[in-house]
Symmetry: C2
């Protein structure tokens, strides 16, 4: 590596288009890709830093551990989804429309960040129990926010109420979380189409029984 260069190595550094992001961001981006490709435990720290064009010293300067790297990836996608859910939940439309919009949106963002989605559910259990508990708690808050939306619809008589709202949320998000196992960006259906179909199925299953 060119030691004479100033802060950032020159334009072409072999990291594939992420060349002038700061080191920390580059490490996160590369780790996300590698974790999604080969799994957390099968990706060595050495591979990550090599792909990012730095060394282990740099990585351990920005992150406490390999676990910490994974945790940061989780936190990032959770922040994004939580923000967007709050936006859709607080809109002024009828409850059914808000649920439909929020459901469709979470699918679109999951597809747009498919690597994060994959990592989340494959590698969660690799984290230290304490860290895992923290991540789970944040995830739970997200689910509860969505559940409140469903309950609002049930109280309004728009949704069937013979199925617990919690179960409905687990049901729907099971589908969302498993997008990573079968969806491919080059497949026949674009993310927006899947989002619409899944949201339709959710709303349809919530119609009160005849």
């Amino acid at each position: 590596m060119a030691r004479g260069a100033v802060r950032e190595p020159a334009a072409s550094d072999g990291t594939g288009g992420v060349r002038d992001e700061p080191v920390r961001q580059r490490l996160l981006a590369v780790a996300t890709r590698l974790f999604a490709e080969k799994g957390f435990e099968n990706t060595s720290v050495q591979e990550i830093v090599s792909a990012a064009g730095v060394t282990k010293g740099a990585m351990y300067h920005y992150f406490d551990s390999k676990d910490d790297l994974l945790r940061e990836i989780y936190a990032r996608v959770l922040r994004l989804q939580t923000e967007r859910l709050a936006m859709f939940a607080g809109a002024g439309e009828p409850i059914a429309d808000r649920v439909h919009a929020a459901a469709a949106d979470v699918i679109v963002t999951s597809v747009d960040n498919l690597d994060d989605t994959k990592i989340f559910f494959r590698s969660m259990h690799q984290l230290a129990p304490e860290t895992q508990k923290a991540v789970r708690a944040e995830r739970r808050r997200y689910h509860e926010r969505f559940r409140d939306l469903v309950e609002e619809g049930q109280r309004a008589g728009v949704f069937r109420d013979d199925v617990p709202a919690d179960l409905v949320v687990d049901y729907f998000f099971g589908s969302v979380h498993h997008l990573g196992t079968w969806y491919h960006a080059d497949g026949p259906l674009p993310g927006a189409t899947i989002a619409r179909h899944f949201a339709d199925l959710l709303l349809s299953s919530l119609r009160p029984p005849t």
Copy 2:
């Protein structure tokens, strides 16, 4: 270990109730439990054989590799579910009832074998690519069989046909596969209740739109 004993060690051998299963079965049972608890990569071969009361020599006598152990666990649960699906699909009842029964059954068996379910979707990507492809292919056949059922209902006009049957199957099995991440046997809802609710939601979402 008592070397003087004959084939099977005496009654109490500290393996916790699996004492007189043959060694191969014991290894599978113990590995299933440990893989579900701590993940495939975080479970060493030494831990497995210690918990099963044998040594590495024994394990490598029955299995080619650690991967082979995982593959056997997959194959076992896939065989079971495939058999049961064929049974429900071939019954003489109306198509809606058959889909409902098959959907509820796969949930019950997933809950009954929750460890296998967890392992399946957490550790699949750890397998060698070739092995992984074989397992995926078998899994795909199972999904296709289920999809055919949905399509049968669509052709009969019982189910809505504005959503591709493939998508419906991915939608539903996402929920099934994620049972392992939130369901606990000591929770408030028994498996049969969840099975009923999920199957109801599926059938409800398949009703033709008004």
